[in-house]
C-alpha cells in the first residue's frame, strides 16, 4: 500500500507529541468544539431521545442496506442520473476517471469529501493530467500545503492562522494578513474563478435519500452549492452506508449532525441536490453520476458487532472528546480516517488487522467517544473487539501472549498468586528507592521514564487481614 506510513504507531505518536504547535492548535479547537456540543446538548430538550432515534434509523438502514441501495439506484436512474457501484478504491477511481475523460475535463472543482480522500482520487485524476481544485477552505489550505486532513470535520485543525496566511501569501505573491476576513476573502476570490471555469464538479455525500434519489450536503461555506450547480457535470461519491430511507429520516440526522459536530443548530448551508436538472429548471448540472463505494465496508457489514461502525454519521464528536486525539492529532494515526471511529474502520477498509489493527491501541478505553457519539456507537467496545480479533489472528507479540498465559496460570490459583506477590516484593528491592521504583528495567522503563512506579508493599492486604483475623 503506497499510502501506508513507513513507521509504526508508537513512533508516529512519539513524533506527534513533540509537535507543540500542532498540539496547541488541536487542543484549542477540540476544546471549543466539544464545549459547543455540550452547550447544544443543554439547549436541546430530549437530547438522548434524539440520539436514540438516530441510532434506530441508522441501525434499520444498515440492516437493510441492500434494499435501500437498490431503491436509491432506482430513484437516481428514474431522474436520468447514472449510478455506479465500486467494490474497491481502484474501481472507484477508474469509474470517475472514465467519466471525466469522456467529458474531456481539464479542470475539476471539488467540495469536501472524506470518501474521495479514502480512494485517493485527487492523485489519480492528476496522474491523468486533470487539474483538481479543492474548494472547501480547509481542504484548499491542505491542498496548497500538500497535506491530508487530520480531522473529518475540521480537516486543517492542526494548522493555525499564521501558517495559513503564509501558505496563501505564497500563492498570492503578496502578503495576506493572518486574520480570518483577509484569509477568507483571498480564498473566495481565488476559488470563484474555479467554480466558473470547472468542467466537472465532484462532491461527497452526507446522506443520499433512497426514495427520491437526492443527495444532501452539509457545509458552512456554500462551496458545495457552487460545485453542484455551476459545472455541467456533477459526480457525487458516497460510502455505501451513507443512505437514508426518506426525508423524514434526514430531519433527524440534520438535528444531530451539526449539533454534535460543531454545536451549531444548523450549518450555514444545507444543500439537497436533485440532479440532473430537469427541463424546466434554470440551473444545475446537466449530467449526474453517483458513485457508491464499498472498499471494505461489506466486511464491516458482515459482522453483527462491527456493523455498528457503519451507523456513523461522520460528525466527528468522538474526535473532539478523545483524550488521545487531543494529544497527538489526526496525522499520527496515519490513516485517512483518524480518531476513535478511524481506529475501528481502518483495519476493514485496508483489509489489514496486523498493521492497521494497531490503531486499536491508541486508546485508554476511557469511553468518552461512546458517550459523545451522535448515534450511540459503542466505539470503545469495538476497539476492544479489534484487539480480540488481533489476538485470535495471532497478530499480537509472542511475549505478550506468553505473558498473559503465565499470568493466567499464576492468578488462577490463590497460592501461586500469593507466592508471586511475595516474589515481586523481593525482586523489586534492587530498584526500590523511597517507596518507589524510580527507574525500572524494560518493559517497566516505559512507565518509569515518565513516572515513578509504586513499590509493592512488604505485606499484602490478605496477609495483614489473615494476621489480624487469626
Amino acid at each position: 500500500m503506497s499510502h501506508r506510513p513507513t513507521v509504526h504507531l508508537r513512533e508516529r505518536s512519539k513524533r506527534a507529541v513533540k509537535d507543540e504547535q500542532m498540539r496547541k492548535a488541536v487542543e484549542k479547537a477540540v476544546d471549543r468544539l466539544s464545549g459547543n456540543r455540550l452547550k447544544a446538548e443543554r439547549e436541546m430538550p430530549n437530547w438522548d431521545e434524539w440520539r436514540e432515534q438516530g441510532k434506530r434509523i441508522r441501525k434499520h438502514t444498515v440492516n437493510h442496506l441492500d434494499y435501500y441501495l437498490g431503491q436509491l439506484a432506482e430513484s437516481v436512474r428514474n431522474k436520468g442520473g447514472h449510478i455506479y457501484f465500486a467494490q474497491t478504491a481502484t474501481e472507484a477511481q477508474e469509474i470517475i476517471i472514465k467519466i471525466c475523460k469522456e467529458k474531456n475535463a481539464k479542470l475539476i472543482a471539488k467540495s469536501k469529501s472524506m470518501v474521495t480522500e479514502e480512494i485517493h482520487l485527487n492523485l489519480a485524476l492528476e496522474k491523468e493530467n486533470m487539474k483538481v481544485v479543492e474548494t472547501d477552505l480547509a481542504e484548499y489550505i491542505l491542498q496548497l500545503a500538500g497535506e491530508t486532513p487530520s480531522h473529518i470535520i475540521v480537516p486543517a485543525i492542526h494548522k493555525n492562522r499564521y501558517q495559513i496566511a503564509e501558505l496563501f501569501s505564497k500563492v498570492a505573491g503578496q502578503k495576506i494578513e493572518p486574520d480570518t476576513p483577509s484569509l477568507t476573502t483571498f480564498a473566495r476570490k481565488t476559488l470563484r474563478k474555479t467554480f466558473m471555469a470547472a468542467d466537472v464538479g465532484i462532491t461527497g455525500c452526507n446522506f443520499a435519500i433512497a426514495d427520491t434519489g437526492a443527495i444532501s450536503l452539509v457545509t458552512n461555506e456554500g462551496n458545495a452549492r457552487m460545485v453542484t450547480s455551476l459545472p455541467k457535470v456533477l459526480i457525487s461519491v458516497m460510502g455505501m452506508e451513507r443512505v437514508l430511507p426518506t426525508f423524514e429520516d434526514l430531519e433527524v440526522m440534520l438535528s444531530l449532525l451539526p449539533r454534535h459536530a460543531t454545536g451549531q443548530k444548523l450549518t450555514s448551508y444545507i444543500s439537497v441536490v436533485n440532479a440532473p436538472r430537469s427541463k424546466d429548471e434554470g440551473d444545475g448540472a446537466e449530467e449526474f453520476h453517483l458513485v457508491i463505494v464499498d472498499n471494505g465496508r461489506s466486511k464491516l457489514l458482515a459482522d453483527e458487532e462491527y456493523r455498528q461502525a457503519l451507523h456513523c454519521i461522520r460528525c466527528g464528536a468522538c474526535f473532539n472528546v478523545c483524550p488521545v486525539y487531543r494529544q497527538i492529532g489526526g496525522h499520527a494515526y496515519g490513516s485517512v480516517y483518524s480518531g476513535p471511529i478511524g481506529a475501528v474502520i481502518t483495519p476493514f477498509l485496508q483489509d489489514d488487522f496486523d498493521f492497521w489493527g494497531e490503531l486499536a491501541y491508541a486508546t485508554t478505553l476511557c469511553g468518552a467517544c461512546s458517550a459523545a457519539c451522535a448515534v450511540k456507537i459503542p466505539l470503545h467496545d469495538l476497539l476492544i473487539n479489534i484487539r480480540r480479533t488481533r489476538v485470535e489472528l495471532g497478530f499480537t507479540h509472542p511475549l505478550e501472549k506468553m505473558g498473559f498465559k503465565m499470568w493466567r496460570r499464576i492468578f488462577k490459583i490463590p497460592g501461586r498468586y500469593k507466592f508471586a506477590m511475595k516474589f515481586g516484593s523481593f525482586a523489586q528491592r534492587p530498584f526500590m528507592n523511597d517507596g518507589y521504583i524510580q527507574s525500572g528495567p524494560p518493559p517497566l522503563a516505559n512507565w518509569t521514564n515518565s513516572r515513578y512506579f509504586p513499590a509493592a508493599a512488604d505485606k499484602t492486604f490478605r496477609e495483614i487481614w489473615q494476621e489480624k483475623n487469626k
Partner: protein, 250 residues
C-alpha cells in the same frame, strides 16, 4: 450489615494501606467484613488486551470466591466496571457462570457508592458525633476517573462525601472528564501519549493549588501519583477511603 471485601490485586499488592483504611471506615459504620481468600484479580488486563480466554479463567476464580457473599464492596471502580461491563458477555455461552456474573453484579458496590447508597452514611461525623470528629483541613480536588463516571455513573457520590467533611476546602478540577492517560497496558504500550495525557492532568491538578487529589480508582491514582512524584511535587494523592480514615482520626 455484612459485606465481603473484593480487594483487587492492585490494592492487595501495592496499596494494602487503602484496604486497611477502607476496613476501618466501614467497621466504624458497623459493617461486619469478611475476606474470601480464593479471590485474585478481575481479569481486566487480559479483557481489555483482547485475551478473553485467559480472562475467563481468572473471572471464574472471582465468581467462585463471592458465590456465597450477600454483599461485596471494593475500593476500585475500574475493576468493578470490568465485571459489570464484560462478565455477562464473557460468559454468554456458560449458563452457570453467566448466572453467577449477574448475581455478583447485583450485589457488588464500589466503596463510595457503598457508603452513600447502601449504608447512607454520607456523614460519618453525624453517626459518631462525639467519638469520631471527622475533619480534613486541606484543600482537596477530585479526579473522577472514567470508569466510575461513564460506565458506573457513581462519580457523584464523592461530592456527597466530601461535602460532609468539616474544614475541607474543595476545588473543582478543570477538564475533569478527561482521562488521566493510564489505560492499563496503554501506559506502557504508548508511553509517550500516556505521558502527554498525565501531564495535562497533573497541570490541571497543580493549577487548583490543592494539597490533596482524591479519587476512587487506584490505577488512575497510581498514574497521577507517579507523575507528581517524578516532578517532585508535594501534592498528596489519596483514595477516598484514606481521606475518610485520616479524617476520622483528626
Amino acid at each position: 450489615m455484612k459485606a465481603s471485601i473484593f480487594i483487587t490485586c492492585i490494592c492487595d499488592g501495592i496499596y494494602p494501606r487503602v484496604g486497611e483504611a477502607m476496613v476501618r471506615v466501614l467497621e466504624k459504620q458497623g459493617v461486619e467484613l469478611d475476606f474470601p481468600s480464593g479471590q485474585t484479580c478481575c481479569g481486566q488486563p487480559a479483557l481489555t488486551s483482547g485475551y478473553w480466554d485467559d480472562a475467563r479463567e481468572i473471572a471464574k476464580t472471582l465468581l467462585d470466591s463471592f458465590k456465597d457473599s450477600s454483599c461485596v464492596v471494593t475500593p476500585a471502580g475500574s475493576c468493578l466496571a470490568a465485571i459489570k461491563e464484560f462478565y455477562p458477555v464473557l460468559f454468554e455461552k456458560d449458563k452457570y457462570y453467566y448466572n453467577l456474573s449477574k448475581e455478583l453484579i447485583g450485589k457488588i458496590h464500589e466503596f463510595s457508592e457503598f457508603l452513600v447508597k447502601v449504608l447512607q452514611a454520607t456523614n460519618v461525623r453525624e453517626r459518631y458525633p462525639y467519638r469520631y470528629p471527622y475533619r480534613f483541613p486541606y484543600r482537596v480536588t477530585y479526579h473522577s476517573s472514567c470508569h466510575p463516571r461513564r460506565f458506573l455513573g457513581i462519580d457523584q457520590h464523592m461530592y456527597t462525601l466530601l461535602k460532609n467533611v468539616k474544614d475541607l476546602d474543595f476545588v473543582p478540577l478543570a477538564h475533569e472528564d478527561q482521562c488521566c492517560g493510564f489505560g492499563g497496558t496503554f501506559s506502557v504500550k504508548m508511553p509517550e501519549i500516556s505521558e502527554a495525557m498525565v501531564d495535562a492532568k497533573v497541570a490541571d491538578i497543580l493549577n487548583t493549588g490543592a494539597d490533596v487529589v482524591v479519587g476512587t480508582d487506584l490505577s488512575c491514582l497510581m498514574n497521577i501519583d507517579g507523575r507528581l512524584r517524578k516532578q517532585g511535587s508535594k501534592v498528596r494523592v489519596m483514595h477516598i477511603a484514606e481521606l475518610l480514615d485520616e479524617g476520622m482520626r483528626m
